[in-house]
């Protein structure tokens, strides 16, 4: 008989969560934990462990095969390039205090794609071997250059499955832009920090600019329906809006997914918000309170399912690896392969954060240029540190099968990638997220279980989300 390498972690309220390398888990109560430590498991314990795939007996070739396959499934393969984040211009008609992208004023010259850069982007699209394509236009404000958007879209016409996401501040909409928005393959992503006061505080500032944004958002939602638009709030952990106010702002526009991003200070934001380098305890309790508000509201109004995007990503990674593709949380986290960022000057970055770091002068993480290619030494170097598989802390962590790795975030915060894992904001954030998820998974409350089932897209509430060993 042989045990699997089970890892364990005591949850804040006393029980112990056990996870094996394939990500299958169960909750052990004190009695079971004691028997396990003493090597005194009962035959009943063994039967349950075996059924759950946690105990593999030598003769059980199916258990071995299933386990090996499940472990392999946890390792994300790098797919061919099929996702481009394009920055056709760095110019912007707003000046948000936490601007992530180090924008430049609208009238500056030399911050748009050159003819050569455009040609190289189009040639890259021509050369793609995938059959589906996603393109996200970032900025700056990409709608300042509708001609470039159109040129790219026309080039991508050959992909039967294609999606264009235009990240816009929705300050200004005209007929030319509407003609682009009218395309069914175009989606709009914008920022929405809360009600008009909150939104205006860091972004639109004066009343007229603020109301122009809300007018345009309303217009877009009315014209196309809420599935056309998604929005992201940026939350200042020092002064977060009341959870319900934020939720109300989203619900008012028919949007059910809210991605609660803590501000990741980079670029200009780094200079203006020095005090908040780390997410602190306050942020975590705000986040938890927010999730509980979503749960309560989902229960009260079962006609809509509100969700926090990152919570759902974490939750689904526990049960459904590989079901969806998230470049935000995965392991390994291949950089510069399946998606790239092409900046206004043609430089290629592995992620948008990497682009911001370069712009703010912290470190140049470009891996090449769209003209000359990006199969570079810099890319190899980044990728050799883009996994949690061999990190000494992660190797002992129950959450490793679900967690990821983000060396760019480490560089942004600490200027190095070899921090002890537990001392990183990335680790603390994910430790907290998964602790929270597991506490909820083992909650008896029907309201909690209802939301979990909805977030997991289940047709009904399961008897249980995981086994308990008493």
């Amino acid at each position: 008989m042989s045990f699997l390498p089970l890892r364990s972690r005591a949850l804040p309220d006393g029980e112990t969560i056990f996870v094996n390398d394939s990500g299958r888990f169960f909750l052990g109560a004190d009695g079971f934990v004691g028997r396990l430590i003493d090597g005194a498991e009962t035959e009943g314990d063994r039967i349950s462990l075996r059924a759950g795939g946690h105990l593999i007996e030598d003769a059980d070739s199916l258990a071995f095969a299933a386990h090996r396959r499940a472990v392999a499934r946890r390792i994300a393969p790098a797919a061919p390039l099929d996702y481009l984040i394009l920055v056709p211009t760095l110019r912007c008609n707003l000046d948000c205090s936490y601007c992530q992208v180090s924008r430049v004023n609208i009238d500056r010259a030399g911050f748009d794609w050159s003819e050569e850069t455009l040609a190289a982007v189009l040639a890259t699209i021509d050369g793609l071997a995938c059959d589906r394509l996603k393109i996200e236009f970032q900025g700056g404000e990409p709608t300042l250059r509708p001609d470039l958007l159109r040129a790219v879209m026309e080039k991508a016409e050959r992909f039967a499955q294609r999606q264009f996401v235009i990240c816009s501040n929705l300050q200004h909409i005209d007929d030319e832009l509407l003609a682009i928005f009218d395309r069914p393959d175009v989606f709009i992503s914008t920022s929405l920090d809360g009600d008009e006061v909150t939104h205006g505080r860091h972004r639109t500032k004066d009343a007229e600019t603020t109301s122009a944004f809300f007018r345009n958002l309303r217009f877009i939602v009315d014209r196309y329906g809420p599935s056309k638009v998604s929005a992201l709030p940026t939350i200042n952990a020092a002064t977060p809006p009341a959870a319900d106010d934020l939720i109300d702002a989203y619900v008012a526009y028919g949007m059910d997914s809210i991605f609660l991003r803590p501000i990741n200070y980079q670029g200009f934001a780094r200079k203006r918000h020095k005090q908040a380098r780390e997410q602190d305890e306050a942020w975590r309790s705000y986040y938890e309170g927010f999730i509980h508000r979503l749960i309560a509201r989902n229960w009260a109004d079962q006609d809509r399912v509100l969700e926090e995007t990152y919570f759902s990503i974490g939750l689904r990674r526990i049960f459904q690896p590989g079901r969806e593709r998230h470049v935000d949380l995965r392991n390994p986290n291949p950089m510069g392969y399946d998606y790239i960022v092409v900046d206004h000057d043609g430089a290629v970055y592995p992620t948008d954060e990497a682009r911001m770091l370069a712009r703010s002068g912290v470190i140049d993480l470009s891996i090449g240029t769209i003209e000359m290619g990006w199969d570079s030494e810099a890319r190899e170097l980044l990728n050799s540190h883009a996994t949690n598989q061999f990190d000494p802390a992660c190797m002992r962590c129950v959450y490793q099968p679900y967690c990821g790795r983000d060396p760019i975030d480490d560089l942004a915060r600490y200027g190095r990638i070899d921090m002890p894992r537990h001392d990183t904001a990335f680790c603390r954030r994910h430790m907290h997220l998964f602790d929270l998820i597991f506490r909820l998974l083992y909650t008896d409350c029907e309201k909690v279980r209802y939301s979990l089932a909805q977030w997991l897209r289940l047709p009904s509430i399961p008897d249980s989300f995981g086994e308990v060993m008493a």
Binding site: L62, A65, R69, G322
Partner: protein, 360 residues
């Protein structure tokens, strides 16, 4: 119901495979072209001589790949033109005896692999060809040989092979890893997570243990598997446990089909003992679907008319019944979901079908 077996007369003595051409000129030396036809039948001529088919018009038969058996006076429509549902029966022998078997096995084996292989090679482009039995892997070497030769010559084709998966061994792993097996999926029945219950349903002691070995080999071969569970009274309440078992040990399957019973074969005589009225107690089925979905197993319901399934689970109920053996109740005319609905098997009792539908 579309007849698959017709009576025929032929000049030749030995059985032969040919493709019927009612129009135009023959493209292939194995084609037979139309000589004359009327409302009752059609006469064709090919390299095996003249033959006449009764009971279908030249239009119906155009493009079909058929097996003509002169001695029996029969023609079998092996691959019907334009139909997505074509199944070749490779043997009627089986080493199980399932309580609900829709096609009770026979002791004798009539070896037709050569003829079936010829038929496959004549299939329309991109056809999915089903293979069933009996137990096809009782003749594993012939079966795999046929599949490999056909897919080498015709990489556009795909096979779906029903098997009890008890005849694979470790030596097959490297063979099944060949890339052409990406075109093959295996439909494998499993009725319960409890070995004794599974063995009882399939009428073979030790079947469960052997099946687990087979699954282990198929996982290691990277094989594509569709798991199949026929719903019968004995496993109805054991479905949630089976779902947990599938999640823990068989998460590799591409799909898990939970199938409502067919009123044919052994099930016909045992209907009242075996048939589960899922409208009366859907809970175990629903829980199985929920647990499977939770754990990333793509579950689906076969042969469940959509209106008989609770709305939250309706998306799992797919149009699973082959066109040639499917019927609808008269009220179904008015239903908006008929095109997504399985309907009923041709042999399903009419009085039941007529009374249980509620058009959506």
């Amino acid at each position: 119901m579309i007849p698959l077996l017709l009576s025929a007369e032929a000049e030749a003595d030995a059985p032969f495979v040919t493709r019927l051409r009612a129009t135009g000129t023959s493209m292939h030396s194995a084609d037979a072209s139309l000589v004359e036809s009327d409302a009752l039948g059609a006469t064709f001529a090919g390299k095996s001589g003249l033959f006449a088919i009764d009971g279908a018009t030249a239009d119906d038969l155009d493009g079909d790949v058929v097996l003509v058996r002169p001695q029996a006076g029969r023609v079998e429509r092996l691959l019907r033109s334009g139909s997505p549902h074509n199944t070749l029966l490779v043997t009627e022998r089986c080493d199980q005896l399932c309580v609900m078997c829709s096609q009770p096995p026979k002791k004798t084996h009539d070896d037709r692999f050569d003829l079936l292989e010829q038929a496959c090679l004549l299939a329309e482009p991109d056809t999915l060809i089903g293979i069933s039995g009996g137990e096809p892997t009782l003749y594993k070497d012939q079966l795999l040989g046929m599949v490999e030769r056909v897919l080498t010559a015709r990489p556009d084709l795909r096979f779906h092979i029903l098997t009890n998966a008890q005849h694979f061994d470790a030596d097959d792993i490297s063979r099944l890893r060949a890339s052409l097996y990406r075109q093959v999926s295996w439909g494998i029945p499993l009725y319960a997570a409890e070995p004794a219950l599974h063995d009882e349903i399939v009428g073979k002691r030790g079947a469960f243990a052997q099946l687990e070995e087979g699954f282990a080999h198929l996982i290691m071969a990277g094989a594509r598997v569709e798991l199949r569970t026929v719903l019968v009274t004995p496993n109805h309440h054991a479905l949630p446990d089976l779902a947990r078992y599938v999640a823990a040990r068989l998460q590799f399957v591409e799909a898990w089909s939970i199938m409502q019973l067919e009123n044919i074969g052994f099930a016909k005589g045992r209907w009242s003992n075996l048939y589960v009225d899922h409208r009366a107690d859907f809970r175990p089925i629903g829980m199985a679907l929920t647990l499977a979905t939770l754990h990333n197993v793509r579950a689906q319901l076969f042969n469940f008319p959509r209106c008989t399934v609770p709305a939250d689970f309706r998306k799992y109920a797919i149009a699973s019944i082959s066109d040639w053996k499917r019927k609808f109740a008269s009220a179904c005319e008015a239903c908006r979901e008929q095109s997504q609905c399985s309907g009923f098997f041709e042999w399903h009792p009419d009085d039941h079908a007529e009374t249980c539908v509620e058009p959506l």
